[in-house]
């Protein structure tokens, strides 16, 4: 049996508890609005212990935010035989991820502190949007090479797809935390976004739009 010292297990568990507590408090109150006492209380840890694990408030904050970026990546990995179905699947997967309340809280926190912590804004941009965009570019380019899409600038095409599907509900959700879009509303945005995207970028829009109808089942 592998011998992992109990000490280390406790330490890691406690560290995780602190990180979770700190993230939730930071997300709810902002950086300046969060007190280390509040974090210690929520983590069920004494304040000196908190300071032993993470030297300062700023260190704890940056560490937590830079660690969090790994949880928010998601690749464009929905393989299938049909492009429209793949796009539809990706759209829903991404919407479900991005529109979760905790995810929105985190985004508000990052945006709100972007001026005070530019490195965190950069890290988020690189690990979140940029990564998703890269995956989308790869996928869209492959579809273009397969003759199903047509465009000159793959980056613009990917950004268009994103903007068509999620910009409206996400921007609204950022301003209105207590008014999270229903799945029916998301479906409306996704269906419309895909429709416009295909109409503008598909080599055979008529066929793909028909396929979209059979998938979404709308009129």
């Amino acid at each position: 049996m592998t011998a992992i010292p109990q000490r280390e297990l406790n330490r890691l568990a406690k560290q995780r508890r602190i990180l979770d507590a700190a993230l939730s408090v930071f997300a709810a109150e902002g950086y300046s609005g969060t007190s280390m006492d509040a974090i210690a209380l929520k983590a069920a840890v004494s304040k000196p212990t908190l300071y032993q694990y993470f030297g300062t408030k700023e260190q704890l904050f940056t560490e937590i935010m830079l660690a969090e970026r790994n949880t928010m990546l998601l690749a464009f990995d929905h393989p299938g035989t049909d492009m429209v179905a793949e796009l539809h699947s990706f759209a829903w997967h991404y919407a479900d991820t991005v529109m979760r309340p905790e995810f929105l809280s985190l985004a508000r926190l990052i945006i709100g502190e972007a001026q005070r912590f530019p490195e965190i804004g950069r890290a988020y941009q690189a690990a979140g949007p940029d990564r998703v965009l890269a995956g989308m570019i790869t996928y869209l380019t492959r579809q273009r090479d397969a003759g199903k899409l047509t465009f000159d600038d793959a980056e613009l095409a990917a950004e268009d797809l994103w903007g068509l599907i999620l910009s409206a509900p996400r921007n609204q959700a950022l301003h209105l935390p207590d008014r999270i879009p229903t799945r029916a509303e998301l479906a409306r945005y996704i269906h419309n976004g895909l429709r416009v995207f295909l109409k503008a970028y598909a080599t055979d829009p008529a066929r793909d739009l028909a396929q979209l109808q059979t998938i979404t089942g709308t009129k």
Copy 2:
């Protein structure tokens, strides 16, 4: 000659000075990160005077944010004979407004404090995006009635136009305060956004796209 008492003039001037100072400090430091001393210092006003004008920090903040919404509205009032030219003019006008550093700082502030001050988020949504959207809907509907556009849902069409033109650069700018898009980059987004929009929504895309080329002067 009209007799406006000097007292009131001074009062209004001082009030304006306080509001300007408070807005800049709040935008730079966030709500919790801003001290009333800092505002008083920047406004060149004593703290008791500050408190005499605005009872509490929270009152000052909400008052300032609810007042600010009037400056950020802009109507879709770019009349002309050519739809493509009008859309192009609107796109630039709106981009120039929305991508200004102070405007972005304000947006970051509102988003960052949306959970603590839901009313401010609501007011901003109603006075900013919703108002612009209403103007766009009116305009697009008129163009549809004139036979130049085709769509079922005017709201979705307006949101698509917005998302195609500004969602990518704006989202990026929200995360990266020190990396504001150049006018060339904005031109790229605007040209591409209008192109995709016309391709998906124009009744005669070929003609409108040609017109777009002559306006933007690109290849």
